[in-house]
Amino acid sequence: MSPKQTPSQTVGPYFAYGLTAEQYGYDFDSIAGGQLADESVEGDRIRIVGRVLDGMGAAVDDAMIEIWQADAQGRYAHPADPRGSNAAFRGFGRLGTGTDPQNRFIFDTVKPGSVEGQAPHITLCVMARGMLSHAFTRIYFSDEAEANAADAVLASVPDKRRDTLIAKRDETQAGVVYRFDVYLQGDTETVFFDL
């Protein structure tokens, strides 16, 4: 008999000194944080800012967000990408929502290129106390209307829920910022995918 998947359990309220120790000031180095691209990485600099909101609309202060993305040329730093890895850009970020005064996550990265003809996107994974399993969604970009309109994944989402996947572009003094809030529940519950 083949082995069965180990069940998921919540990340709990106390993940920080294990998974995001540097961000929270614990004396343990972290494998990832909010800075995905150093100066050597090619591409358009963007910032992704958002919060995780519960069913009452309250910002969750003990969620963990992870993002996974291609580089500006649409390449993943992984052996399954036939174009080979981009050593300068790993494409992974991880933040807890407990250190920002507004419980935001703030990732500084480059805008991903198109992958296999899809609209540019970032895969996002949310976990938290009160979530027995993680949930996956995708971040798309509001200034990619044409590519978004042709994207098969977006097309599979009911019209009125599609906006939950689109990060809103804002040009600030600090640069390009995309706003992407994750609604765990409610009328504007984010679309989560069965990845």
Partner: protein, 235 residues
């Protein structure tokens, strides 16, 4: 199928539901709408690559990686096992991140207000990587049980948190390892959030072969991640 073929789905017979009302904070935090299926693309077949280079020399030894003036208190343990996929393939060079309470049931996390002592020589977090046969091990002390506010006189069973990516971002797993014979298991809404018949997979086995004489009690704990939509390659 190739080594990079699509992954089998999350097995919702094994996985807990998002909303499990006995675990109260799921009521406002668990997504309520059906997940939308997505045909896997390169975005799903890839994921963060962290292997041996991610692990420092003491990361696998929680009894040593935060010492200040002595050894941490508690029952020394060694946890060892394999990381496999559903097809039984061992997953080599796979990162495991672990964190836990100290022997008194206290987390070093600043939000933990439980009135049990911190241990100046124990942080409670570490990591290790599987070898070419998918095997891992790490040293620690047995974590204590601790109270939580979910329900009157609620106590979490002894447990260690585990976080793994596996071969792709979608094989991601965060789980908890429990200890055999713990009477709190049957009272724990988080453990019981996982379906009966599968939650038992999260309970480690006491293992005399893993136990190191005169040093540490051994527990074996295998972890199974999603497989491929294919039969295992013949090697």
């Amino acid at each position: 199928m190739t080594a990079h073929g699509p992954f089998s789905p999350r097995d919702w017979i094994s996985q807990p539901p998002y909303v499990h009302l006995e675990y109260k904070s799921t009521a406002l935090r668990g997504p309520t709408r059906p997940l939308i299926p997505l045909q896997q693309t390169l975005s799903e077949l890839t994921g963060p690559v962290y292997g041996h280079e991610s692990v420092g020399p003491l990361d696998h030894d929680l009894t040593r990686n935060a010492r200040v003036n002595g050894e941490p208190l508690g029952e020394r343990i060694v946890v060892a096992g394999r990381v496999l996929d559903e097809d039984g393939r061992p997953l080599p060079n796979t990162l495991l991140e672990v964190w836990q309470a100290n022997a008194a049931g206290r987390y070093i996390h600043r939000n933990d207000k439980h009135d049990a002592p911190l241990d100046p020589n124990f942080r409670g977090s570490g990591r290790c990587v599987t070898d070419e046969k998918g095997r891992y091990s790490f040293y620690s002390v047995k974590p204590g049980a601790y109270p939580w506010g979910n329900h009157p006189n609620g106590w979490r069973p002894n447990h260690i948190h585990f976080s793994l990516f596996g071969p792709s971002f979608i094989t991601r797993l965060v789980t908890q390892m429990y200890f055999p014979g713990d009477p709190l298991l049957d009272l724990d809404p988080i453990y019981k959030g996982a379906p009966e018949g599968r939650r038992e997979l999260m309970v480690a086995k006491f293992d005399l072969d893993v136990t190191e004489p005169e040093f540490a009690l051994g527990y074996s704990f295998d972890i199974v991640l999603r497989g491929r939509n294919a039969t295992p390659a013949q090697e």
